[in-house]
Assembly symmetry: C2
C-alpha cells in the first residue's frame, strides 16, 4: 500500500500531466474505472494500475488525478497510434481544444471505420481531458498523426468542410475512401489544405442563426451524412 | 477606475459564479469581448460593463473571471427566457454538463427556429461554461424552461432520441412543430418522457464502434436530419 505522496509511481503519474513529458514517454493516464476498463477491453496492458484502498491511500490517488472528483482507479498505458485507413475517416487541422478532439475521436469511432487523423497544431488526444471526452474511444480506435498530403494520397475523396461558398453536404457524391477534413473554429482549414481537397461542402445552417457549429458537432453531422453518401455511392 | 478587489461591483460579479445566487438575481456574466458583443447585438443592455484599463485595473478584472485566460471585458446582463415555440426545437432532460448545454444552445440556434427547452435536472445555461460554449447563442436565442408535458401539448411531433430499439432517424416522418427530446448520456430519457413521445428514433451507429455519441453531437445530428424531414413533410 502506497502511503507517501513521494512514491515514485505517483510522481511518475503527476509528471504525465505535462504534455511534453507524456509525449516523450509515450504514455497515457486513464482515470476512473470506465476508462481503465475501456483501455483493457481494447487490449492495452497497464504499465501501472493503482486502486484506491488496495494499492494506494485514496487521498493520495485523488491528489494525482488531473480530473478530480473521486477517482478510485488510475491506470497508465502505452500510447498506440494508427495509420490513416478506412473507407471513412476524419482529418483535423489545428483543432486545439482537447475536449473537441476527444469528442471527435468518439464520434469517429461511432460513425466511421477509419481513425481520427491529427494534422499539425491539434491537441494531444492522450491528454486527460481528451481521453475523458473520448469516453474510451481513444483506446478502441487510436488516432493517427499525418500531414494532409499523406491523407490525400490514399483517399479517393478528400472533403473540406467550409462554412460558406460550397454546395451543401447532401448534394455531394463521394467515392470512398472518404476523408472529411475540418479546421479550427476560428480560422477553418488553411489554404494549402483547401486547395488539396477534391471536394468542398458546407453544413446548411438557418439564415440569421449561429454562424457555425462547434467543430466536434460539425464532424458528427458530416460523418452522419457521409455514411449515407458512401452507402449510396 | 476600480483599484480595490473589495469594490462592490467586483464582489457582485464574484457572487454570480454561484449558481443559486445567479438564479436568485436573474443575472448572467459575459466574459470577453465576443460574448459581451453577442449580448449587446441581441439587445441585452449591460447592468455592469467593465473594461480592463479603463474602468478597472486589469489584474482585478482577471481575478473575478470564472474562465480566466486574460479577460479584458466583463458585462453583467439580465437573463431572458423564451417560451417553447418554433417548428423545430429541442427538449433536454437532465443534461447536467454545462458545456453540453451551451453547445446544444448553439446548435439549436444554427439549425432550428425554436429554443432549447430545459427540463428538470439540466445545467444552468447562464453559467460561465455554458455561456462560453454557446458562443453567444444563449443571448441570440434564449433557452426556455418547461416540463415535458407543456412541450408535448403544443407539438405535433415529440421525437424521443434513443440508443436502441427504434427506427433510424432517416426513416421518420414528422409533422411540424417537431421537438427533438434528448436525455442524459448515462440514463437517457426517463420512462414518463419516452411514453409521452409521439415517435422514437435512433441515430444509426457502426456495429462494434462507440455505443453512443456525446449528447450535444447527437442533438446536432438529429437537428440536421430533422431539417430535411420537416422540409420534405
Amino acid at each position: 500500500m502506497i502511503t507517501s505522496k513521494d512514491n515514485p509511481q505517483l510522481k511518475a503519474i503527476r509528471r504525465l500531466h505535462d504534455k511534453r513529458h507524456r509525449q516523450r514517454e509515450g504514455l497515457v493516464v486513464a482515470e476512473g474505472e470506465d476508462l481503465v476498463e475501456a483501455a483493457q477491453a481494447a487490449g492495452f496492458e497497464p504499465e501501472v494500475l493503482l486502486v484506491a484502498g488496495e494499492d494506494v491511500e485514496p487521498r493520495l490517488l485523488e491528489a494525482v488525478s488531473a480530473l478530480g472528483s473521486g477517482t478510485r482507479v488510475i491506470g497508465v498505458f502505452r500510447q498506440r497510434w494508427s495509420r490513416p485507413s478506412g473507407s471513412l475517416s476524419v482529418y483535423l487541422h489545428a483543432v486545439r481544444d482537447p475536449a473537441n478532439v476527444g469528442a471527435i475521436v468518439r464520434a469517429v469511432h461511432a460513425l466511421a471505420d477509419g481513425p481520427t487523423v491529427l494534422g499539425p497544431g491539434c491537441a494531444d488526444p492522450w491528454s486527460p481531458r481528451a481521453v475523458r471526452a473520448s469516453m474510451g474511444s481513444v483506446f478502441a480506435r487510436p488516432p493517427a498523426r499525418a500531414e494532409f498530403e499523406e491523407v490525400g494520397r490514399d483517399a479517393r475523396t478528400t472533403l473540406g468542410l467550409v462554412p460558406h461558398g460550397a454546395d451543401p453536404l447532401s448534394a455531394l457524391a463521394a467515392d470512398p475512401p472518404v476523408v472529411a477534413c475540418l479546421g479550427s473554429e476560428r480560422s477553418g482549414l488553411p489554404n494549402e489544405v483547401l486547395e488539396g481537397c477534391s471536394a468542398l461542402a458546407r453544413i446548411p445552417l438557418r439564415a440569421g442563426g449561429a454562424e457555425s457549429l462547434n467543430v466536434a458537432m460539425a464532424a458528427a453531422v458530416a460523418l452522419y451524412e457521409l455514411n449515407r453518401i458512401v452507402r449510396d455511392a
